[in-house]
């Protein structure tokens, strides 16, 4: 197999912690679907992308992109709008032809059977008019050789309340759940989700994250594009950061943060807190009401503050986020 920059250690990363609602929902949900075999025991990479390029005239939408995805993980493509995420994912899905490059699924070039093995949720999709949710599911189930039972899928994606409603009259969150159900209808090995929570309200986004976590818990491999930092941080085991059609860096969120932003930020109210900031180790940035101490060791900074008998009641520690990382790597905000 090809060698790529992702460490095998990140494969065993513990799934991200969930809020109370999520845990409760995940535990109460029935598990009607058979667990997939542990593919990670039998292969290194499920999908490999090798020197992929897509040029539109002089525009390089995807410029020499390579990565590999191990089975059973959630793999993220993170980047701002126009970074090349969707083009990359659509080339992998077979929707768009690449200018050059190679894609291997289970070590071989994709063939017609790939459509039977993958599930796809596009960024924006309309469905046939005047069909109910159940009829849309039935329609798509007929496209595949081994579809899941419609009722089980309705339970899994929580479509029961509106299964007899016209699909094109659903709310944003309901429609995304239906589109997710369509992506899962063939019980795929790998699921592509292209910015699935864009435009959803916070509650619907969180609900959708629960569903994605549940899919992953059933052994599916997920390829997720997003420009939401919190989403990538919460869901992705490994990710590539893209900008201007190129991969800037790749690895697990933790690896990337440790590599590029090893410092933590300790914030404490100032002045009038009774300590001398010049005695602290690390860069100190003075704000209007508080000091920000950029340190490699939070413990050491705390010890220094306690030694000066500083009032720690206003103290808080801010860990760097993927957004900080992205700004550092690209020099601009992710939403730009």
């Amino acid at each position: 197999m090809s060698s790529y920059g992702l460490s095998a250690a990140s494969a065993s990363r513990t799934p991200p912690p969930n809020d109370g609602n999520h845990s409760e929902r995940a535990e109460s949900r029935p598990a009607p679907l058979p667990q997939q075999p542990n593919l990670s025991l039998t292969m290194t990479y499920l999908l490999e992308v090798d020197h992929l390029r897509k040029h539109y005239g002089s525009l390089k939408a995807v410029d020499d992109v390579s990565f590999a995805i191990r089975p059973g993980i959630c793999f993220g493509l993170l980047g701002p709008n126009g970074a090349g995420k969707t083009t990359t994912i659509e080339i992998i899905e077979g929707i768009t032809a690449p200018t050059s490059g190679e894609i291997r699924y289970r070590g071989k070039p994709r063939d017609k059977s790939f459509a039977e093995r993958c599930g796809i949720q596009f960024q924006a999709t309309a469905l046939q008019d005047f069909l109910t949710v159940r009829e849309v599911l039935t329609l798509f189930a007929n496209f595949y050789q081994h579809p899941l039972a419609i009722d089980e899928l309705i339970d899994w994606c929580e479509l029961g309340e509106f299964s007899d409603r016209e699909a094109n009259k659903l709310s944003g969150g309901q429609k995304q759940r239906l589109l997710l159900a369509l992506a899962l209808i063939n019980d795929p090995e790998i699921v592509f989700l292209d910015e699935p929570t864009t435009g959803l309200d916070p509650q619907s986004r969180r609900h959708f994250w629960d569903l994605i976590s549940a899919i992953k818990a059933r052994g599916k491999t997920i390829v997720l594009t997003t420009h939401y930092m919190d989403e990538a941080e919460l869901l992705c085991d490994e990710l590539v950061i893209m900008d201007h059609g190129r991969i800037i860096d790749q690895g697990s969120p933790r690896q990337l943060l440790d590599k590029h932003l090893p410092h933590k930020r300790v914030c404490i109210a100032h002045p009038g807190n009774g300590f001398d900031a010049s005695l602290l180790v690390g860069e100190v940035v003075a704000g209007e009401d508080e000091l920000e101490i950029i340190t490699i060791s939070v413990e050491q900074t705390l010890q220094e503050l306690m030694a000066q008998r500083a009032d720690l009641s206003t103290l808080r520690v801010r860990n760097p986020t993927l957004e900080d990382l992205f700004i550092k790597l690209t020099g601009h905000l992710l939403r730009d």
Partner: protein
């Protein structure tokens, strides 16, 4: 086959649940027919139509033919002119072929009147008789209306749907499944074929019931012409919709395709008196062959062999349009 049937069923559900479209599909042609029936129930009898087979610019009949109440129509073929006389579309027919002769329809009072005018002018013509039921304008126009409905139903029904599917991403979503372009397109064709045939059948039945239509030919032949015509139009619709995702552009293309056919395919009026180039252009249009074949079977009682050249042309157009549509077809907009 499973995929094909699933798309077919879904498309049919989409169609019949769209009540506005269904209502329009039935109401529009019926309104046209009723309007025609009312408008032409009292035809203008102040002008006599005289068919000319041969040169009559000089000679004993020219004095009559120059009268303002006489309208002349020239024919190259005598059989065509006789057919018109038989159906009361000509009141008198003059022919110089094999000596001066004239024909009148013994069942037409207009024929009797214009015969007296002729005999008052000259006695050089030998009398010939022909008889036949009067073909009303509504009898003549309904094959055209059926063809027109078939054209609009097929072209817009397939063309707009596919362009809309491409524009809003339905086609892209289907491309991501194992469904092939052939399965998708053939399901669209069959669905629209069923709809168009059903709608045309109902309109035909309604007309036959309320307007006492003349149908001299075989109903099976009419069904075959409907199928051949619908396929040709659907294939043309697929060709027009093969690439674009712009509904306005598609609307423009469909209108540019349908309106010339509407006026040049003898839906509303005959092109017998039209310039030769217009008749040649008309003969390239599928609607012309549909309407002429319908009319031949309904009014003249033509057999399948009689209209086979029309059916062959429609089959050729179907194959050509389908081939090009398959070549040009694109699932999603760029």
């Amino acid at each position: 086959m499973k995929q094909f049937l699933a798309i077919l069923v879904a498309r049919n559900k989409e169609y019949y649940r769209d009540k506005g479209s269904v209502a329009w599909a039935f109401l529009f042609p019926l309104l046209v027919i009723v309007a025609c029936a009312l408008a032409f129930s009292n035809p203008d009898t102040s002008v006599f139509r005289v068919g000319l087979h041969g040169d009559f610019s000089t000679g004993p009949a020219s004095a009559l033919l120059d009268q303002p109440y006489i309208k002349t129509v020239s024919f190259d073929r005598l059989d065509k002119a006789l057919e018109r006389t038989q159906h009361h579309q000509l009141d008198l027919l003059l022919s110089s072929d094999g000596g001066n002769r004239y024909w009148i329809n013994t069942e037409s009072s207009a024929s009797a009147a214009v015969e007296q005018l002729l005999l008052g002018t000259t006695a050089d013509f030998v009398r010939q008789e022909i008889s036949g039921r009067k073909i009303r304008y509504v009898d003549w126009v309904i094959p055209g209306v059926l063809g027109m409905n078939l054209m609009f139903g097929a072209l817009f029904g397939v063309g707009y749907v596919i362009v809309r599917y491409r524009h809003n991403g339905v086609l892209k979503r289907l491309q991501a499944t194992p469904v092939t372009a052939l399965q998708f397109l053939s399901a669209q064709m069959v669905s629209r074929l069923l709809i168009v045939v059903a709608v045309n059948g109902l309109i035909f039945a309604g007309c036959a019931l309320f307007l006492d239509l003349i149908v001299l030919g075989n109903y099976i032949n009419l069904l075959l012409i409907t199928l051949a015509g619908a396929l040709a139009m659907i294939a043309l619709g697929l060709l027009i919709a093969s690439r674009t995702a712009n509904e306005e552009l598609a609307g423009g293309l469909l209108n540019v395709t349908t309106w010339p056919m509407l006026f040049m395919s003898e839906v509303w009026f005959s092109l017998d008196d039209a310039p030769a180039w217009m008749q040649s252009l008309s003969n390239l249009m599928p609607l012309t062959h549909i309407v002429k074949a319908f009319r031949a079977v309904m009014i003249e009682g033509a057999s399948l062999v009689d209209v086979s050249h029309h059916l062959l042309w429609l089959a050729l157009m179907t194959a050509t349009s389908l081939g090009l549509a398959a070549l040009l077809f694109r699932w999603h907009k760029k």
